[in-house]
Amino acid sequence: MSALFRVQVLAALALVLLLLPGSAWAFTVVDQAGRTLTLPASPRRIVSLVPSVTELLYAIGAQDALVGVTDFCDYPAEARRKPHVGDMISPNLETLVTLKPDLVVATRSGNREEIFDQLTRLGIPVYLVDPITVGDVLRLVSELGQLTGHRDGAVAVEKDLGRRIAAVRERVAGRPHPRVLYVLWPEPLIVPGKGSLVTELIALAGGASVTADQGQGYPRMSLEAAVGRAPEIIILARHGSRVGPAALTQWQRLESLPAIKSGRLYMADGDLMHRYGPRVVVGLESLARMIHPEVFARPEPSK
């Protein structure tokens, strides 16, 4: 073989290698906090400190790249079998490091800032997510797809979510919006305020949240002020098994309240609505059934 021929073969090989998907030599991304990260390659060992992200990674088919999760990452069931690094506030750094991650996904609302600094100092890149709206969730899906190289899976999820959201919107279109009070936490009373995910979900489901004008995120409110806005529907969020029957009986005692009298007091699965994962549409659908039972087949009364 002549020298020229060998060079040509090598050049062709190099070209082929360059064109193979996911084999770029340098990989630059911008996370949702606007920070630019340069990774040597598409991450193959991801630690997720955010339960929503864990769910999304499974949804887009990237679970093989997931090597570590938090104690709260309980969906899907297989996620619980992944190695645990602790809780969201103070994960165990040593355990984390032994997993040899090449990327850690975290969020400012839920994880502590000091952890990001520590990880960066240890040379582990941190990808911050900060979804607030439903639109942010869809964008996150595609970003994670790009990040992990599972673009097809991401696209499929995006399409499915979009379709189901549109379906709900259609069915409640044109209907009157009943006043909804969503109780995130009963004592102290915490409600969804301006710009929070739950507020948006309620609006999409065809309701009008009575607390939509309150402070950013999930502010506190007095019981009297909330009740004084005459909600027609009251939804109590359940967090795992923690907000239990006591909250329910407490609200049921307010018998002279129209919402209670007409039996429109419901329990909702908090995990569906407070996580920025693929199950927000499940949450949306359940909200829609509570708010507009006349349009949907199975209404879900309070248990």
């Binding site: 007095s222 009297e224 002020a225 005692r253 307010l254 002279s256 309240l257």
Partner: protein, 339 residues
């Protein structure tokens, strides 16, 4: 004017004040309910269903009742304890009972001791149990062959209080973030609407505690002569000490179990009334009950409306009153407040 007549006048005046504050408190709040509607609801003329009715009868009214009871109970506990220890700085929380009650409730909230158990019994039972354990511990530590020496009682109360406060801190450090907010909210004292059956228990326990203290009011006066001086006049000092301790512990434990720890009421109210009405406990204790109820009710009403639609914890407001009051007390020449 005889002492009995004086007592009647003072209680009458304070009762009127209390009713006035209660009515005012019923008329204000975060929800917009006009006075006319409030009156309708109270007199039973309003609609049977409606948010206004819920707000007035199920939210404001029970809260007003709880605030009056809690304020009165704490003030009487404070008055009794200050007279017993002959120390104007004594506050019911020094007994260690409130820390015990708080620990009981926080423990129940944090561990969710088998959710069913906690829900079935209610947090108040845990509060009462904690109070009883702490009270018993203080009593056992302080009582000896020589009776129940007052300074040992004080020390024992402080020690038990410190122990349970430390235990609470441990619990707070291990509770997960979700529940932490709820626990801290309770620890600041919150006069949340209490169902009528529980309110009845609250009232009964308060009456029992006030009865225990008031029954010893005359003997308490004699204790100002010193324990020996009182015994020489025929006072059964040990019996008085036991009754006052039990009464103050019952009152304090009850308040903490139902509305959480609220500071300074038990310190400020008896002091103020002692300055205005004199040291005679037979007049001071009833006056403190009515005045304490009015005071805490006013504070709670403020807490409800000052940052509406959100609300402050009533413990925050009473704490704000505490420091300035102390400063004024120290610097005031008028204050001859040694009980």
């Amino acid at each position: 004017m005889t002492a009995a007549a004086r007592l009647a006048w003072i209680c009458g005046g304070l009762a009127i004040l209390l009713v006035a504050v209660a009515m005012g408190s019923l008329l204000v709040g975060a929800a917009p309910v006009s006075p006319g509607i409030v009156l309708d609801v109270i007199t039973g003329r309003g609609p049977a269903v409606g948010t206004d009715r819920t707000v007035v009868l199920s939210i404001r009214l029970p809260r007003i009742a709880a605030a009056m009871l809690a304020g009165g109970a704490l003030a009487v506990a404070g008055a009794g304890f200050q007279a017993l220890t002959r120390n104007p700085l004594a506050e019911p929380s020094i007994l260690g009972v409130s820390a015990g009650a708080a620990f009981g409730v926080v423990l129940a909230q944090v561990s969710g001791l088998g959710q069913g158990v906690v829900e079935a019994l209610g947090l108040t039972v845990f509060g009462f149990t904690g109070a009883a354990v702490a009270g018993l511990a203080v009593y056992l530590i302080a009582s000896s062959a020589a009776g129940l020496p007052v300074h040992t009682l004080l020390l024992a109360g402080v020690i038990v209080g410190i122990f349970f406060s430390a235990a609470i801190t441990v619990l707070i450090s291990i509770v997960d973030a979700n529940r932490l907010g709820g626990v801290i909210h309770w620890l600041l004292g919150s006069v949340a609407p209490i169902p009528p059956s529980q309110l009845a228990i609250f009232a009964l326990a308060t009456v029992a505690g006030v009865w225990l203290v008031l029954g010893q009011a005359r003997a308490l006066n004699l204790l100002a002569l010193g324990e020996e001086g009182a015994i020489e006049l025929g006072v059964d000092a040990l019996r008085v000490k036991r009754r006052i301790f039990m009464g103050a512990a019952l009152l304090t434990g009850t308040v903490v179990a139902f509305v959480g720890p609220i500071g300074f009421v038990g310190l400020i109210v008896p002091q103020v009334f002692r300055m205005l009405l004199g040291p005679d406990n037979r007049i001071l204790v009833p006056a403190a009950f009515l005045g304490g109820g009015a005071f805490l009710l006013a504070a709670d009403t403020l807490a409800r409306i000052v940052v509406a639609p959100a609300e402050l914890s009533v413990g925050v407001l009473t704490s704000f009153c505490g420091a300035p009051f102390f400063i004024w007390l120290l610097r005031s020449r008028v204050a001859r407040v040694a009980p």
